[in-house]
């Protein structure tokens, strides 16, 4: 190992190596202290929440408050109030404060094993956020506290159980009856015998069921027949060459006839219109009848000719009339 400096072997880069080690140590120390300060929330802004509890058993400074199993803040201070209650002041980092709402509930749970836990429950995350410096009650759910009460109740239950299982208890009587019933159920008429308590009755029921079965069979035949009739009717009505089919054909023919009739009527209408025009012309010509008397005869001849022509053109059997004044 090292001797007096004069005799020590020459070490390469001694100062550099030791400097490196010292720098490493200092950096680690600074990082560690910085990290500890950060972890302790020195650089974090928090909001205050005060919980009022009846009993602060198990609560300690630095204890976390959990929301859904995640720590979202910690106990900063505890004090007794004048009313003998415990004020627990908590610091909630602002980024986690959104999990606490106006209607959040806070509980202190003390399990059988392990430390107590403060838990927050927010059922409605849409309700307004918890205000800074809010004060809320802390409900205690202590498993150990309930043990004596639990034991009393369990003892009651056990004595009841003992009464129930006693030879003379109604439960064991019921069991005996139940056994009789189950014996009958295992007999010739099975469950029915067990329920009716008598083989006679059971047989009647079984006969009734048999009859019902027969009835059902005949009903089945009837329904089959009805079914056949229905099928045939359907065939007649909707089948190839059935009533519906024929009717449809007739309707098509009637439709064609009606179309023809409409065409004919249209033609007649046009001819009537022509006739009307002609008769109005005639009216104009007869206004000056006196002076044109001579011409009338001449015209009459023409009209006659024309009427003949009309008659020739007229498809219906009634006469054309041209009234002259």
């Amino acid at each position: 190992m090292e001797r007096a400096p004069v005799r020590a072997p020459l070490i390469k880069n001694l100062e550099f190596k030791v400097g490196l080690l010292l720098a490493l140590m200092l950096i680690l120390a600074v990082i560690f202290i910085g990290y500890t300060l950060y972890a302790r929330g020195v650089f974090e802004r928090t909001q205050k929440l005060t919980l009022i509890a009846d009993n602060a058993d198990g609560v300690s400074i630095g204890m976390a408050i959990g929301f859904s199993g995640f720590p979202i803040g910690q106990v900063k201070r505890m004090a007794l109030t004048d009313q003998g209650k415990v004020r627990i002041e908590m610091a909630i980092p602002l980024k986690d404060a959104r999990w606490l709402r106006d209607n959040s509930v806070f509980t202190l749970e003390k399990p059988m094993v392990g430390a107590a836990k403060i838990k927050a429950f927010s059922t409605d995350l849409k309700s307004p956020p918890l205000a800074d410096n809010a004060e809320r009650p802390l409900y205690t759910g202590d498993a150990a506290q309930e043990i004596p009460e639990l034991i009393v109740k369990v003892r009651d239950v056990l004595s009841n159980l003992q009464d129930l299982t006693d030879q003379q208890s109604s439960l064991s009587q019921t069991m005996v009856n139940l056994r009789t019933v189950s014996d009958r159920m295992a007999g010739r008429y099975g469950v029915v015998g067990g329920i009716l308590g008598d083989d006679q009755n059971a047989r009647k029921v079984i006969e009734a069921i048999d009859r019902a079965n027969t009835l059902l069979a005949s009903l089945n035949g009837v329904s089959l027949k009805v079914d056949t009739v229905l099928t045939k009717t359907d065939q007649r009505l909707h089948g190839q060459g059935g009533i519906m089919d024929e009717t449809q054909k007739a309707v098509v023919q009637i439709n064609a006839i009606l179309t023809d009739a409409r065409e004919s009527l249209k033609k007649a209408d046009a001819i009537l219109k022509n006739t009307q025009d002609i008769s109005s012309d005639i009216k104009g010509a007869t206004t000056d009848i006196a002076s044109l008397r001579a011409q009338v005869d001449d015209s009459l001849a023409k009209i006659n000719g024309m009427i003949d022509a009309i008659n020739r053109k007229w498809p219906f059997s009634h006469k054309a009339e041209v009234k002259l004044p």
């Binding site: 400096p5 190596k17 560690f32 500890t36 392990g114």
Partner: protein, 266 residues
């Protein structure tokens, strides 16, 4: 013992007690002088700095890789054991805190101090015993140089810094390993980790930790040197002086550890 008369026995035990007390007084006096001198700027000149550098080089730098590896391995195994056991008992929430408390606060500083004591403390003690027997110390004094200031105090400073540095490195690695073992190689649980770290390292704990490591660092060189200087100048006393120094050093390290635990938990 049977032949010894009662007054003789008393005398011997009395002188033994006195020697023991003298030994302790010498240790505390030298430790006090070392602390005062190390805080005095005039202690640091080129000669003392060279001794300090060499002490740090031999005590910390030379063993750094192997010691770090060993500490990492030990940390990993211990963390695994604690975490597994805690999980089996349904106390996984406390696993990380337990491992950090166990390793960073207790085992790693103590282990570092013991290792440095075994390696450098024993060597320093032997060296000083030999210097004393060979009258080198008188020679230095005759040359008008204070052996305390130029030979011993720099070694104490170097030893203390070495223990601090090794503890810092191994503890950091242990924290890292603890995170990886408990949460796996991902960074989502950093806030959780920060909460646990914050819970463990409050100001009193940090102060006690630093004071403890510093006391370890002082002890590993101060005690062997004191014992070596107190030994008679006969060569066959050299092993006895080294042995005494090491035994006393062991007890002192344990005492510091127990004291720190008592301060923390009582």
């Amino acid at each position: 013992m049977n032949s010894a008369s009662p007054p003789d026995l008393l005398t011997r035990s009395g002188s033994g007690l006195l020697n023991w007390l003298h030994g302790w007084r010498a240790v505390f006096r030298f430790a006090g002088v070392a602390i005062v001198e190390s805080l005095t700027p005039r202690t640091y000149n080129s000669a003392t700095r060279s001794v300090v550098l060499k002490q740090i080089y031999f005590t910390a730098w030379q063993i750094l890789p192997r010691f770090t590896l060993f500490a990492a391995l030990l940390s990993y195994v211990l963390i695994q054991i604690v975490v597994d056991t805690a999980r089996n008992f349904g106390l996984a929430d406390y696993a990380l805190e337990a491992t950090i408390r166990l390793l960073v606060l207790e085992i790693l500083p103590l282990m570092t101090a013991l290792f440095v004591a075994l390696r450098s403390g024993a060597a320093t003690g032997t060296e000083v015993v030999l210097m004393n027997i060979h009258n080198e110390i008188q020679a230095i004094e005759a040359a008008g140089v204070d052996p305390n200031r130029f030979e011993f105090i720099p070694r104490v400073i170097g030893g203390a810094i070495s223990v601090l540095a090794l503890t810092a490195v191994t503890s950091s690695i242990a924290l890292l390993i603890a995170y990886v073992v408990v949460y796996g190689p991902q960074y989502w649980n950093l806030p959780d980790f920060a909460r646990v770290v914050a819970h463990i390292f409050d100001l009193p704990t940090l102060t006690i930790l630093w004071a403890k490591v510093l006391a370890f660092g002082l002890a590993v060189t101060v005690i062997p040197i004191t014992e070596a200087l107190a030994a008679p100048k006969k060569l066959f006393f050299a092993p006895i002086a080294v042995l005494r120094g090491m035994v006393r050093l062991f007890f002192v390290l344990m005492l510091i550890e127990v004291l720190s635990l008592a301060l923390k938990y009582i």
